[in-house]
Symmetry: C2
Subunit: 445 residues, 2 copies
């Protein structure tokens, strides 16, 4: 049945994903070949150190340190090295040598995506990257192809497993951030240096990739507003729980209209936020990921699955490899980048959102009215206020005023107005301390 010559596959990198890709290619090569209509021959694996330990038992003769020579004899190059250089140089070399490319490199795509897509378009090469966002979850093809006839309004995702694991522990076990992080590290869900995850850099890269696809607009990672989860306290998580919310690190990509100018654009941001416990994203536990998409015609969609893991992510890479190989056999160029909309990219100030603000105030008559006045001065409408019983402020000397806790949830308002309100509130004499400021996202179903 198979008449087409073997396709020559080169793999760059043999880390946790790369070694699984190599293993599956060797073990299930025949099955994949019958799906493609041509054999898939793994001709080599380029690594820095041929003798480094690997997650899978792979034939030693496949390994090489000479990536350039390997790339130049391949039909499809799979880049799983990570990092910017030499990954960028190698992908450009592959494209210019006539190979198709599969990559899972989110950092590279989020910073140099347009350069790579342009290079591929010049020569009609294919560039697939399902593994770069959402791990095993098929989210790139749904956004690029299935929703290509629709207008996406909003993408809201839990796209980092480490932070979801930590926040889920804080929610279900009452852990502090530090103790949940320690557990994540012990179980292998967090790296020795967890900065990229807990500070939201990893999520911001994925957000840039998803937004670019969803809005047909190249969104560089520098345009993504980013806040991490290191300052989230056990008290905030507990208070959220009592109020029917859960704290999640969300990547939010929105199409919106600037209120001042009337210009339509997009906004992309990553930050912790409260969402209703009834929202489908609230049920995403542990290190799982999910992406919630709202489109004009399709309505609400959700994609759920493993956002990381060597074996899981290998599934996405091999799916791309089969697509690239099928197209290689059938002929015809790949689907190019779609950036025709080229919408302006707004900063966080243009976003409309809700806030939950927790204040310690002196327990005197008129304080609530004073605070409420500050919201109204900034045109921020208050949805609900909860004042808890006056409590003794620690270290309070006798005779000093008691304090009360105010939890204020606002209606949707521009971020700029909300942050100005918080600034005004925190410098008010009656306010002892601003305990917490958290955004509230997602409709309550």
């Amino acid at each position: 049945m198979i008449e087409y010559r073997n396709l020559r596959i080169a793999l760059l990198g043999a880390g946790s994903v790369g070694s699984q890709v190599a293993r599956l290619l060797l073990e299930q090569g025949e099955e994949l070949a019958s799906r493609v209509g041509a054999g898939l021959e793994l001709i080599g694996i380029a690594v820095r150190d041929v003798d480094a330990p690997r997650d899978a038992d792979l034939p030693r003769e496949l390994f090489t340190t000479d990536a350039r020579t390997l790339i130049q004899s391949a039909d499809v190059v799979i880049e799983l090295m990570g990092g910017i250089e030499p990954a960028r140089e190698y992908i450009l070399l592959a494209i210019n040598s006539g190979a198709d490319v599969v990559t899972g490199n989110k950092a590279l795509l989020a910073t140099h995506g347009p350069e790579l897509f342009d290079a591929a378009a010049q020569v009609g090469a294919q560039l697939y990257y399902e593994a770069a966002a959402g791990g095993a979850i098929p989210i790139i093809r749904p956004l690029r192809d299935s929703l290509a006839g629709d207008r996406v309004r909003r993408v809201m995702g839990i796209v980092n497993g480490t932070t979801n694991f930590i926040l889920d522990r804080m929610d279900t076990e009452g852990d502090t951030f530090e103790s949940a992080l320690a557990t994540a590290t012990a179980l292998g869900y967090a790296e020795a240096d967890p900065t990229a995850d807990v500070e939201g850099y990893d999520a911001a890269q994925k957000a840039a990739i998803l937004a670019s696809l969803a809005f047909h607009t190249a969104v560089p990672v520098e345009a993504v507003h980013r806040e991490g989860i290191t300052s989230i306290t056990a008290g905030e998580v507990e208070a959220a729980k009592r109020a029917g919310f859960v704290v999640k690190l969300l990547a939010i990509c929105e199409r919106l209209t600037d209120a001042q100018t009337g210009v339509e654009g997009v906004s992309v941001r990553v930050h912790p936020a409260l969402i209703s416990r009834l929202h489908p994203l609230a049920a995403v536990h542990g290190a799982k990921n999910a992406v919630f998409v709202q489109a004009e015609a399709a309505g609400d969609l959700m994609f759920y699955g493993a956002g990381a893991g060597g074996l899981e992510t290998a599934s996405a890479v091999l799916g791309d490899l089969v697509s690239a190989a099928r197209r290689h056999v059938a002929g015809g160029p790949g689907v190019g980048e779609s950036t025709h909309a080229n919408l302006p990219i707004f900063g966080i100030g243009a976003v409309n959102t809700r806030y939950q603000i927790t204040l310690q105030v002196t327990d005197k008559p008129g304080v609530l009215a004073q605070v409420a006045g500050l919201f109204s001065e900034h045109s921020v409408s208050v949805e609900a206020v909860q004042q808890t019983v006056a409590s003794a402020e620690p270290g309070r000397s006798p005779g000093e005023a008691l304090t009360a806790t105010l939890v204020i949830v606002t209606h949707e308002a521009p971020e700029a107005a909300l942050s100005a309100t918080v600034a005004a509130v925190s410098s008010n004499d009656a306010v002892v301390r601003v305990e917490s400021v958290l955004r509230v996202e997602g409709d309550t179903p």
Copy 2:
């Protein structure tokens, strides 16, 4: 920027989906054109009655009753008429006239899929059908492309909105089947003749399509074991709730190995089943749909969204149209049907599942041992038995024995053994009545 000539689009059918497709094509044509790199010109809509009322306000001059002439001047034909004939004839005519085809016709694909795929492959035409299963939910591309490098073990889906609405009402409101169906009809979630939905015919067609894709094996709808939900009682739903389960109509496509022969094959079935309330599918409420996929490398994935609705389904159709049009512009044939695995298709007897069996038994010593003996004789292992306090059987004459309720949950066992056990149990003298036999599906997370 656009240099390619306009692509000529013919639409067959202007029902709830077709009229939305036509409206969006006319309203958002420029936006779609810039995604394709060519204009998309709706050249006509073939209908039986030009003057019938439509869901959208469409230019009268587009309508025609001459489908054949329309088809023969089109680049892409969108078939949304439903039914077998003349839809089948028209699609073959389109393919043989050199057009690409987009269809949402699940009945046709589930019965004549291979004929249509063969015809398309002969001439290198494209045949897309994202709207045929799961409505707006992108599930066809993920199965066909994203998971093409993986091995799918199991697809378990809620793929019919009408029955999910009814079962959800029974679960949340305590409605009977009849009353929940009446509500579904009143709200437009059920058709005047609900047979296709409540008897599982619609779900069986979608199951055949999903199984064919997932297992690279043509599965005709006749091979799908099908049971509807008309016999589900309020009592069963209530009892399931108390036990931590919810009743859902599930479409289950499994890769399994026949215990007798050791042969690997697939099994496809549609029936009501109990699933744990902690399973992600348990949270799918109202008329929503979701498909849960278990793959060897990717692990657990879930796809959630609107499974029906004219506007929602139009999103899937237009996504296919953009794909077909992009390929038309870029060149190269479509992705063909993948049936290389060609696995045998097993009947329901080969399936392993769990059962929950509810019995009324006479409340005498030794009955439980007797019943348990029948399970053991058929090699069906019992996971749990719950015996509720003896209750008076209605109409019981004084002196007659009291009855007790036994709820037995089995471990996984072959369907054949389970049904033989149920037969033996129901003919046992100590058993007054078999109240309910329901399968239990899905791992308890």
